[in-house]
Amino acid sequence: MSRTTPSLRRGPFSLTRMPSDRLLGRLGSYATLVALALFCAVPFGWLFLAAINPRAGLYLELPDRVGPDNFVRVFTRADSLRLLTNSLIMAGGAVLLLLVVCTLAGYALSRYDFRGRRALLFGILLTRVIPPSATIAPLYAITLGLGLVDTYQGLILVLAAQQLPFVLWMMKGFFDTVPIDLEEAAWIDGAGRIGTAFRVVLPLAGPGVAAAGLFAFIGAWGEFLTPLVLVSSPDLWPISLGLFRAWVAYTLVDWGQLAAISVLYMLPAIVFYLLVRRYLLRATVLGALQGTA
C-alpha cells in the first residue's frame, strides 16, 4: 500500500466521504483556525493602532488622525532613546560574547572526543532547565560580590550565560554537519588546524551560527527579570524595564509613546523569526522559546 490513488493521497481531511460532509469539515477547520488566529492577533491591535495614533489612550480605538508623532517622540526624547540603546548594547554585547565562546567550544565539542564529553554535553543541556526566576537571589548576591551590579558588563555576562547552553548545542550541531574530510584536505595542504577551522568550517556552518546568534539575541533582548534585579539606575534600563516602570506609573503614561516603543521592541523579534523559521523546531526542543520567562 505504498502508492495509492491520487484522491486518497491528500491530507487527513480528504476522506472518501460524502461531499457535503467534507465541505462542512473544511468550513469547520477554517472557522477554528480563524478563531485561533484572531485570539492570537487581536491583543496586538491596540499596540499597532495606538503607536500610529498621536492622541492614543489605553483603549483599542481607530485613530482620528494617523501620524508618526509617537515614533518621532521615541527617537527625539533622551529617556526613550536611551532605553533603545541600552537594550541594543546589552543584547548585542551578549550575542557577540556568545558567538565567540560558543564557536570555540562548539567546535571543540564537535571535533574532539574525550572522556566525559557526552556527560558534559547533557550536563550543559540540563542547566537550560534552571529557571532564572528561581536562582535570581543568589545570582544577585554573586554579581554584587563581583562588583557587577548596575553595570553593562554584568548584565551582558549574565544574559550571555543564560543563553549559552542553547547556543552551544545549536553550534555543535551545525559543526557536526560539516564533514571533517573538508578540513583534512586543508591540513594536507599545510594549513593549521585552527586556521582551517575558521577558513573552512565556519563559512559552511555560517548560516547555522547566524541563526543561533539571532535566537540568542531575541532571548537577551526580551529579558525582563534579570535587568529588573541587576540594574537599578534608570540610565541603564533596557526597554523591558522602561515599559514596566511606565506601566506601574500608570496615570503618568504617554500611551502612544509606550505603544510606539513596544512596536519597535517587538519588530526585531518578528523579523528574526521570519529569518530563522526553519530552525524553529530545533530551538523549541532545546527549550529556547519561553526560556527567558
Partner: protein, 297 residues
C-alpha cells in the same frame, strides 16, 4: 560520529582552552547561583542591614519556616494550577488543534494562520503583557469589556475579579505556538501510508487520530508536556508585569513568591530556601527530559 579521540597532551590542552571560556561563563552565572541558593538558604542572609554584611548560619531554620508558611504552600499550589490549566491543558489542546488543522495540505492561508499563532510567542514578554493590559483594561472601553458588552454584561475588572483565570488565558495565548511547532513536526513524521491504510479500512478521522496518530506521536507529546511544565513553572515576567502577584496575593506564583521574599522583604536566605524547593522540582523534571532526549539523539 565525527569527533576524534584526544590522545596527545598538546591536543588536550587545546580542547581545554577552547571549551574553558564557555564553561566558566556557564559555571559562574548559571550553575553557581543554583548551588549558591542551597548555601544561602542555610543562612539568614538579607539584602540590607547587619544580616547583609555578616550573615549567620541558621541550619534548616528557613526550611522549617517555609513548612509552616501558608503563603508558600498557597503559591506552590497556584503554580501547579497555573502549569496544569495553562500549559498541560490549554496550550496542549489548542496547539495540537492548530498543528492538526494546519497539517491539511490543501488548506489555504497556512502562512498567515501560523504567523498569527506564532506572534504571541516571539514578542518580548513585557510587550505581550502590555498588550493584555489593554485587553483587560477595567473600564467599559477595554477590548474584552467591549466584547462581552455586546451581550449586555457590564464592565468586568478582569485582573481584579478573575486574576488567576486571566493569567492562565494570557499564558495559553503565549504558548499555543510552542505546542504547535512541536506537534506539527510530530504529525509530519507519521507515515502517510498508515493513515491511508486506516482510511481504506474505513476508519473515521477520530479513529485514525486515536489508533494511528496518537500512539505514534506519544513520545513527542511527553516531550512537550515535560518541556512546557518546566518552562511554565519558571514564568515570572508575564504575570508579574500584569498583576505584581495581586490582588491580595491571588496571582503570587512560586516565582513571584521567591522574588518578593528576596527583593521586597529583603530576605535572601528565606527566599533562597523557596528557590531550592523550586529547583528540586524543575531539575527532577529536567533530568527526565534530558534522559528522554538522550535516548533520541
Amino acid at each position: 560520529m565525527i569527533a576524534r579521540r584526544v590522545r596527545r597532551p598538546r591536543e588536550r590542552l587545546l580542547v581545554a582552552g577552547l571549551v574553558a571560556p564557555a564553561l566558566v561563563l556557564l559555571a559562574v552565572f548559571v550553575v553557581l547561583p543554583a548551588v549558591w541558593a542551597v548555601a544561602i538558604s542555610l543562612t539568614n542572609q538579607a539584602l540590607t542591614g547587619v544580616d547583609a554584611r555578616s550573615p549567620r548560619f541558621v541550619g534548616l531554620a528557613n526550611y522549617q519556616r517555609l513548612l509552616s508558611d501558608d503563603d508558600f504552600f498557597a503559591s506552590l499550589a497556584r503554580s501547579a494550577t497555573f502549569v496544569f490549566a495553562s500549559a498541560i491543558v490549554g496550550q496542549s489542546l489548542l496547539g495540537f488543534l492548530a498543528a492538526f488543522l494546519l497539517g491539511d495540505r490543501r488548506l489555504r492561508g497556512k502562512g498567515l494562520f501560523s504567523a498569527a499563532i506564532l506572534l504571541p510567542l516571539v514578542v518580548p514578554e513585557t510587550v505581550a503583557a502590555l498588550a493584555w493590559a489593554s485587553m483587560t483594561a477595567p473600564s467599559e472601553f477595554g477590548t474584552l469589556n467591549r466584547l462581552v458588552g455586546l451581550t449586555g454584561i457590564g464592565p468586568i475588572r478582569w485582573l481584579q475579579e478573575y486574576p488567576m483565570a486571566s493569567i492562565v488565558i494570557v499564558n495559553i495565548w503565549r504558548g499555543i505556538a510552542f505546542a504547535m511547532v512541536l506537534f506539527a513536526a510530530a504529525l509530519e513524521s507519521v507515515p502517510r501510508e498508515l493513515l491511508e491504510a486506516a482510511q481504506v479500512d474505513g476508519a473515521s478521522v477520530r479513529q485514525q487520530l486515536r489508533h494511528v496518530t496518537l500512539p505514534l506521536i506519544k513520545y513527542a507529546i511527553l516531550l512537550f508536556l515535560l518541556l512546557t511544565t518546566i518552562t511554565t513553572f519558571g514564568v515570572f515576567g508575564l504575570v508579574y508585569f500584569l498583576t505584581r502577584g495581586g490582588p491580595a496575593g491571588s496571582t503570587t506564583l512560586l516565582t513571584v513568591y521567591i522574588y518578593e521574599q528576596s527583593f521586597r522583604f529583603f530576605e535572601l536566605g528565606f527566599g533562597s530556601a523557596a528557590a531550592v524547593v523550586m529547583l528540586a522540582i524543575v531539575l527532577g523534571l529536567g533530568l527526565f527530559y534530558v534522559r528522554l532526549l538522550r535516548a533520541q539523539i
